[in-house]
């Protein structure tokens, strides 16, 4: 897997064209001027999972203005359900990761399969959001 493949995935899956760099260091990090000397370069953006590339919630929030495809807008009730581990019904997408939006704000990563959406927002962060809603 090359950084260019990651850029292509983001463009293909979310129609998002980005001007930053993708730098591999265990995961793919989105940054400006990566160098090995640093402990981290920018923010962790995309992970290489068994089932394919998975964008992080922080990364999707960051690129929210560029996302034109596989965006799923949810209501408060739907978001609360997702954050407690439930799935919500949805249709018309290709299987894979989606960007969850609430009140025109990207919340993070979700997964679409078999006409169902589930949350991929990390559990701890999800609990924090539930309390803040």
């Amino acid at each position: 897997m090359q950084s260019s493949d990651v850029r292509e995935y983001v463009k293909e899956r979310f129609s998002a064209e980005l001007d930053g760099e993708f730098y591999y260091n265990g995961d793919y990090w989105y940054c400006r001027e990566p160098e090995e000397r640093y402990e981290t370069n920018g923010i962790r953006a995309v992970r290489d999972m068994d089932i394919g590339l998975k964008p992080t919630s922080y990364f999707l929030q960051l690129i929210q203005d560029e996302i034109e495809k596989n965006r799923v807008d949810v209501s408060r009730e739907e978001l609360e359900a997702l954050l407690t581990g439930d799935m919500i019904e949805y249709s018309g997408l290709e299987k894979g990761y989606v960007a969850l939006f609430f009140e025109d704000r990207c919340i993070g990563c979700g997964f679409y399969m078999d006409e169902l959406i589930s949350s991929r927002v990390p559990e701890g962060r999800g609990k924090e959001l539930s309390k803040a809603l």
Binding site: R32, E33, Y38, E39, T40, G42, Q61, L129, A132
Partner: protein, 291 residues
């Protein structure tokens, strides 16, 4: 704090302010904030904008400014109003390469990334492994992807790279915040003098890391002249650098030209002291060097 009665004008107002509950303030992060940010913030809190900085909002009677979706999403950073002054003085611009030498928990680092609109490079250095965690968390939350994090003793940062601007928000005795906390003991003169050695070493390292004609801003959140004007005067004596006068759009005091038996020189009036009663916020000292 009585030891500073002689150097803090309007000492009664200072004392009165130190006894008040601090006002919660937040800084809008335009990397993540949506256009309706202010409207949404006003739904959660009673807000008032700072007069001198349109990104800073005071939240009236709010004890938990971090409990909101906007904060969770990184649309704002909880930061004392005075703590946003050093980066305002540093004035980073898109394209700049900036070093934040003592970066955790990341308030000023993420403020710099916002100011340069993630265009350029911010190197955020932190010596403490433990404090790196909070630095990372805040970089991710605020979307500050122009930030590369470094875990070094600031005095040991390799000098093979130069920066346009360097911020030395030095470790200090913290009197500017501790004065509001009844259980906190103030630093002794001896402790302050000990810290001054480290502060001067960090500042002199910053001079070696900045480009010719670059800017170094030195700041602390303490009142002790040993950690402020003394350090700055020593740095001026031993290095080919100049102080630039700082202008602020709110009430403040100029740096001290002398304290007890020590003479710091007239140049110190180019530096600034911010006391809690000036903007109902923590204390801060800021100096700006041209190198």
């Amino acid at each position: 704090m009585n030891k500073y009665r002689g150097i803090i004008p309007n000492f009664e107002a200072f004392q009165e302010e130190c006894q008040k509950e601090p006002i919660s303030t937040v800084r809008r992060n335009d990397i993540k904030a949506r256009k309706d940010f202010e409207e949404k913030l006003a739904e959660d809190f009673e807000i008032e904008k700072a007069s001198w900085n349109d990104k800073v909002y005071r939240l009236k009677d709010e004890k938990k400014p971090g409990k909101s979706m906007l904060h969770w999403r990184g649309e704002y950073y909880v930061q004392e109003e005075s703590a946003s002054v050093p980066v305002t003085v540093l004035n980073p611009r898109p394209g700049d390469h900036v070093l934040d030498m003592c970066a955790a928990p990341g308030g000023k680092t993420t403020q710099i990334a916002d100011r340069i609109d993630n265009k350029g490079l911010v190197v955020a250095n932190e010596v403490s492994d433990q404090r790196m965690k909070s630095l990372h968390a805040n970089i991710y939350r605020t979307g500050a992807y122009s930030v590369n994090a470094l875990n070094e003793d600031g005095r040991m940062i390799p000098e093979d790279r130069e920066f346009d601007k360097v911020l030395v928000d030095a470790p200090c005795s913290g009197e500017g915040n501790n004065c509001r906390r009844e259980d906190e003991e103030m630093a002794s003169e001896q402790e302050s003098k000990g810290l001054a050695d480290l502060q001067l070493e960090l500042l002199e390292k910053a001079f070696n890391l900045v480009k010719d004609d670059g800017v170094v801003v030195y700041s602390t959140c303490t009142f002790s002249p040993f950690e402020n004007e003394y350090v700055v005067s020593q740095a001026l004596e031993g290095n080919d650098v100049k102080l630039e006068s700082i202008d602020l759009d709110f009430q403040h005091e100029r740096g001290l030209e002398s304290y007890q038996d020590s003479e710091f020189g007239r140049e110190m009036s180019k530096t600034v002291r911010i006391y809690p009663h000036h903007i109902e916020s923590g204390g801060m000292y800021v100096a700006k060097f041209r190198c």
